[in-house]
Amino acid sequence: MTSPAVNRREFAAGFGAIVIAFSLDPKLARGQERLPGSLENNRRLDAWIRINADGSATIFTGKVELGQGILTALAQIAAEELDLPLSRIEMISGDTGRTPNEGHTDGSRSIENSGTALRIAAAEVRAILIDLAAKRLGATADQLTLAEGIVTAPGGRKLGYGELAAAVDLRREATAKVEPKTASKYKIVGKSVQRLDIPAKVSGGATYVHDIRLPGMLHGRVVRPPRYGAKLETINEAAVRTMPGVVAVVRDGSFVGVIAGREEQAIKARAALSGDSRWSGGTELPDTGKVYEQLLSLRTVDTVASEKRASARPSGARVVEATYRKPYLAHASMGPSCALAEFRDGSLTIWSHTQGVFPLRQDLARSLQIDPAQIRCIFAEGAGCYGRNGHDDVALDAALLARAVPGRPVRVQWMRDDEFAWEPYGSAMVMKAQGAVADGRIVDWSYELWSGPHGVRPGAPDGSNLFASWSLAQPQKRPLARNIPLPAGGSDRNAIPGYELPNHKIINHFIPEMPVWVSSLRTLGAYANVFAVESFMDELASAAGADPVSFRLAHLSDPRARAVIEAVAKKVGWKNSKTSDGVRGRGIGFARYKNLASYVAVVAEVEVDRDSGKIHVPRATAAVDAGLIVNPDGLTNQIEGGIIQSVSWTLKEEVRFDQGGVLARDWQSYPILTMPEAPIVDVELINRPNERSLGAGEASLGPAAAAVVNAVAKATGRRIRDLPLTPARVKASLR
């Protein structure tokens, strides 16, 4: 099977700027029928599927591999409906010249959107192939059998997809009238198949954008300002130009970078350029201690996310109040962002690990003031990004440098400090909760949150969301940040608890303009909201004298929500213990991601070192309902990874500032969980083959955070409401 990783031939194909003739963005006529998933905006079958003369199928998807295993799962869906072995599926993904436009690969939506489109389109293509075979074989479609791409007539005569390939015409709109298989017929979907991308990743195969080498390629590096918005006054271009290997110093407004023949020469030139540059102005950042004070002082756009008032608060109810805080978090990708760019004959080709090749193309076109039709964006994998990190910004950096050397490809990789200091962070957030309990029930719940925007990505209706574009000689406008609307929500994602709360009010104080560059980090607001909501559930349970598991179940009617909580409680042998030894504790966290995707409940065990304040999480156990599971091991891997990443965020992570700038520059100033510190993770999957698949990639982080925090509260009897749970905070809580 062809690896979905972009190979050298495909890299080279970029030069020709091949434009495939099918319409990628058809104008939707009024009165057209709605089509499922991403078929709605990419309606033609040939946008998704090609049957090849060798009997294999090529699948085109706009969703991209971020390390979450999505291409394998999508290949499974296509193979299943086409009745082809997985080894005869080739995946092409994320290429403005070749694939459907599915926006960004984000929000745990790929199985729901691209998977649904592929399931429906492949079922229809299979029916078209069978009809064609029936005509050729002189039989009716229902007389034929189909297995592994071979159609067989009653007399034993056979036709392979390869023999039908030349005659099959997929240049037509999907009708969505062909029923896909029922789950009971599945042979490939629902099986833990090995991921297609892993063999190359363990053997030094060319897998990542970082590994692309083009003929005549040069190496670029950029010099960032000392503070957001600082203006470049002077640089010592002349001295740098004479350094070994330097080809060009590129300056456009306050953007500055260097191109050299060898990578280490570009790195030395960057250091020299950086040391010799003078900047003025820019935004002063708050001291770490004043981050929340500042957050609460900013202009907000206030909305009521949900409100219900069925009854007055009974007298005698116990009232509880709490304020929770979550710091700025970094994506902290293992591989600094990287892109390649080449201008040739007025056209630009970009190789990028962006989450959205089409939106990136739009913002590049605006920033460079060229026609989007002159730009081809080709996705190639990066290191895990966990949201919108520097991947889009480095693409513009590479394009700005490549523009100075037409005909020569330029590879730009950020240095580690670029990555930490210049990625857009996940916003700091403050959550204030007030609730009341009477007779073991929550009788009132009010909740307010303050947060910056989360979905700040390319593809906005106006302006550009690429960092360097704001400081060019002809700067781009920074688009007005808007909250992602409910029910998925952005800053208010999972702010509305899934519990039955007859009296509640949830207010979102959305902060459109932030002093710190922020965008989408895995889960958006859900990590902070689930941390706060689930911490508060435990605080209310405690006020009600109830067990946390029973208390949650008492407020939940959705049987699937109850089922994951019951499953995880059973798996760990949950017992309501009123006492603790001051060291060990167990806590639970639950959420249905976005209130519409996967259900996840996590129980974490903690051990608190009361002398050092250090928390160890030896084990976390999860139960997950993601509807129909496509690749069980792939799902487990995502849930495990989410839990460990969340434990890292929750125990260790915070982007710190002082007035000089961002203090996170490397792995010492921004430590993450290490191998000896990682918990053992047990995952129980609840498969529901007759329910639609639900997004799961981001679903475990919120519940895992809450489980850890609740476990610490259980162990020590003291609740910590500020993240991360650093040793200093733990020790302070024990005083």
Binding site: L66, G67, Q68, G69, Q194, R195, D197, I198, P199, K201, V202, S203, G204, G205, A206, T207, Y208, H210, D211, R213, H219, P244, R262, E263, E264, A332, S333, M334, G335, P336, E381, G382, A383, G384, Y386, Q413, M415, R416, D633, G634, N637, Q638, E640, G641, G642, I643, I644, Q645, S648, D666, W667, Q668, I672, L673, T674, M675, P676, A678, I680, V681
Partner: protein, 157 residues
């Protein structure tokens, strides 16, 4: 100027300055993708290669210091067709998400298994303490190393 290195058993001459970190020569001159640039500070381990059997961070190793050494990269361990026990075990355990750290994990594990063929789980975690993973694949990586140790043990006996 040219400097001679011995990489994966072959003598190679590279046109780089003596202070050039080994990683750039491996990736750009010798076109070996295995070693990954993660930090350039010896903090994350993504660039790990073996120098005379010892796991070193190629991002902070000037080539002038390894001119007489045997340099081994993941490419020489095995191939897609004939994977090394560690590579096979990482595939069997599906021990990767994004996979960017995996080169370093495997090379650090190679050094561990060469000196301690029967490590405990704690030995593995300690040996990989300087290799960071951001995806949260830690436990699968540990299981893969233990599986490779077992598989190699079976081959030897």
């Amino acid at each position: 100027m040219a400097i001679n290195l011995k990489v994966n058993g072959a003598s190679r001459s590279v046109p780089a300055e003596p202070d050039t970190p080994l990683i750039y020569v491996l990736r750009n001159d010798l076109e070996l993708n295995g070693a990954k640039f993660g930090c350039g500070l010896a903090q994350c381990g993504a660039c790990t290669v073996l120098v005379d059997g010892k796991a070193v961070r190629s991002c902070v190793t000037p080539i002038s210091t390894v001119t007489t050494s045997e340099i081994t990269t993941i490419e020489s361990l095995g191939s897609l067709e004939k994977p090394h026990a560690l590579q096979r075990a990482f595939i069997e355990e599906q021990a990767a998400q994004c996979g960017y750290c995996i080169n370093g994990m495997i090379m650090s594990a190679k050094e561990l298994l060469d000196r301690n063929p029967r490590p405990t789980e704690q030995d593995v975690r300690a040996a990989l303490a300087g290799n960071l993973c951001r995806c949260g694949t830690h436990n699968r990586i540990v299981r893969a190393v233990l599986r490779a140790a077992q598989a190699s043990g079976r081959t030897r006996t």
